[in-house]
């Protein structure tokens, strides 16, 4: 159970996330109105109509919150999630995802998965398990995607530098 102050902070964080989310939606669709002027009428008709409709719904959502129809700020119920979420750990997870994508681009998908999965399990679980989970995942990916499904060829950065293809 989080202490009351931490709980308030979490609700505040959720509200900020909501404002950020809707600000992003408004910015994304608002920019369409500007860009659409350069397009042919039939090409921009539905995109502009949909954008206006969504912006109207966002305005309605904000208005509903203001008059108190929806409680808890823009949140439906920011306190309803009983699991305690660690935002820092979420960011760490996204960091690992970026690492995995980068490794796949640099050394190839199968080697990248082998390295990152092994490293992750070694870091957050037991090294012994890492020695099993990493290679098993890489072999499963290789058999399914490369051997059975004939994965489209991809030359990683390293292969391009040394002038040869790794495959997969």
């Amino acid at each position: 159970m989080l202490p009351p102050s931490a709980d308030r902070l979490r609700i505040r964080g959720t509200q900020l996330l909501q404002y950020g989310y809707y600000a992003a939606v408004v910015a994304y669709l608002g920019s369409w109105a500007v860009l659409a002027r350069a397009y042919r009428p039939d090409t921009r008709l539905l995109p502009v109509a949909v954008a206006v409709g969504i912006l109207g719904l966002v305005a309605l959502r904000v208005a509903a919150t203001r008059v108190g129809i929806v409680g808890g700020g823009l949140a439906t119920d920011p306190t309803s999630d009983t699991r305690e979420t660690d935002t820092r750990r979420a960011l760490v997870a996204f960091g690992w995802l970026v690492g995995l994508v980068s490794a796949a681009v640099v050394v190839g998908f199968v080697p990248g998965i082998l390295v990152v999965v092994t490293a992750f399990v070694a870091r957050y679980d037991r090294p012994r398990r890492a020695a099993v989970v990493g290679p098993t995942t890489a072999v499963a990916v290789y058999v399914l995607f490369v051997l059975l499904l004939d994965l489209p060829p991809y030359d990683p950065v390293v292969a391009r530098l040394v002038g040869g293809g790794f495959g997969g």
Partner: protein, 511 residues
Amino acid sequence: MGSPAGIQLTLLLIDLAQFEAAAATAFATVFSPIGLAFLVGATLLGVTVGSIPGLGGPVALSLLIPVTFELDPKLAFLVLAATLGGVNFGGSITAVLLNTPGTAPNAATTFDGFPLATQGRGAEAIAASAIASGAGALLGLSLFVVLLPVLTPVALAFWSPEYFWLAVVGIATIAVASDGSVLDDLIAGGVGIALTFHGVSTVTGGIRYTAGTQYLQSGVPLVPAIIGLFAIAQMVELFATDTTVADGGSIAGDRLRGVKATLTRWPTVIGSGVLGWAIGVVPGVGGTVANFVAYLQVKERSDDPESFGEGNIAGVIASEAANDAKDGGSLVPTLALGIPGSASTAVLLSAFLLHGLTPGPLLLSEGLDVVFVVLLALVCSNVLTSAVGLVGSPVFAKVTRVPPSILLPVVFGLAVIGAFAVRGRAADVALMAGFGLLGYAMRRLDVSRIALVIGLVLGGLVEENFHRSLQISGGDYAIFVSRPLSIALIVVSLVVLAIPLRRAYRGMLSE
């Protein structure tokens, strides 16, 4: 492609001897040692591929076409049909256990499947899904065989305005499916539609919102979006909360409850199966609409609609029965008319053409043995997947106990390569990561990601048929309200949109 009269004439011309010979050939092919080996292997491959987020029937079939090209056509279609049979059930496994639909047609399964998994009832949900999937598929294929001559004209009754309204009905279901804020979910659905406007308009040819990049000219791809929104977001959520999917409850023994739940809800199976099948008959709409509509009709007719979304097993049964039955329906336009009934059957259609077989009335006379192989393989693979689901559900359900320190990197690895595999473009992997971030934010904010996916799937259909209708009518908007079928679909969409209001009114009365 052929006229309804032509199809019925073709069916009449198929004499009993030809029918028997084709059936005997199909049985001999499927039940030969090599046929059985291919059947089992392809079904298991289908279940495996279907359970990997993003890789569904279309992807599996398109990747298998080159592999099976050298085979005898009957064996090739045995492999393709069996894979298709396995994919649907495979997609429900991740929908239940990881809140990640293997493909869009499994999306409604997450509504109640995942809450059941978090309650430690994952094996029960998978077993129910396995039985409902198998029953739905058998029902759909039976209806295909019996009603093919009668219903092919229905598929032809849909013109562009009707497709437009049908897609609108599908989008309207967002409002009914919502358990949180209807406004939030409608906005999410709208953003999903908006995402389909990037790139080249297939009807007008205009290029829009590409930010000057070549990548966006082909639009926002669906598979990386689904993988990011669900698989990535769910794994980040698990890691951030440092918990497993299921915190308590038992695993062993639950599957019998799942079987019993499905058998005692046989009207739900039949009702949802018939509904899914009927939607599958309409070319191009696919299973995304079928599973939602079936889910919603069961929810609305229930005495306890509030329990849906909290782990009501009827939600899983309805969604999966409709999802598998729709394949039988989508075979009607695919095999009889040469018009793909869904994304999977569109790929199947191209496989027919590659093997020199032209779908349509001629296929039903000249390639009847291949048609029977497809039907028989689908029946057998669905029976097999039900067995696999029943036997394997306790094993599958163990995924809900795997700690995030192991589950996250494995799912991340499969997600990254899955996003790449579809089009072979590394940029799709980066896009998947971006959608992962969006999906996580939506998850934290309790905004429906399913709504966004519905918009993303149906937005293109809306725009394409909107413009096509106007091209047909020479710019006259009256075409959208000039045919009885269009009017009927408008009424259906209005009724669907009125359901949340009725629900709110009932809630006010009960207070």
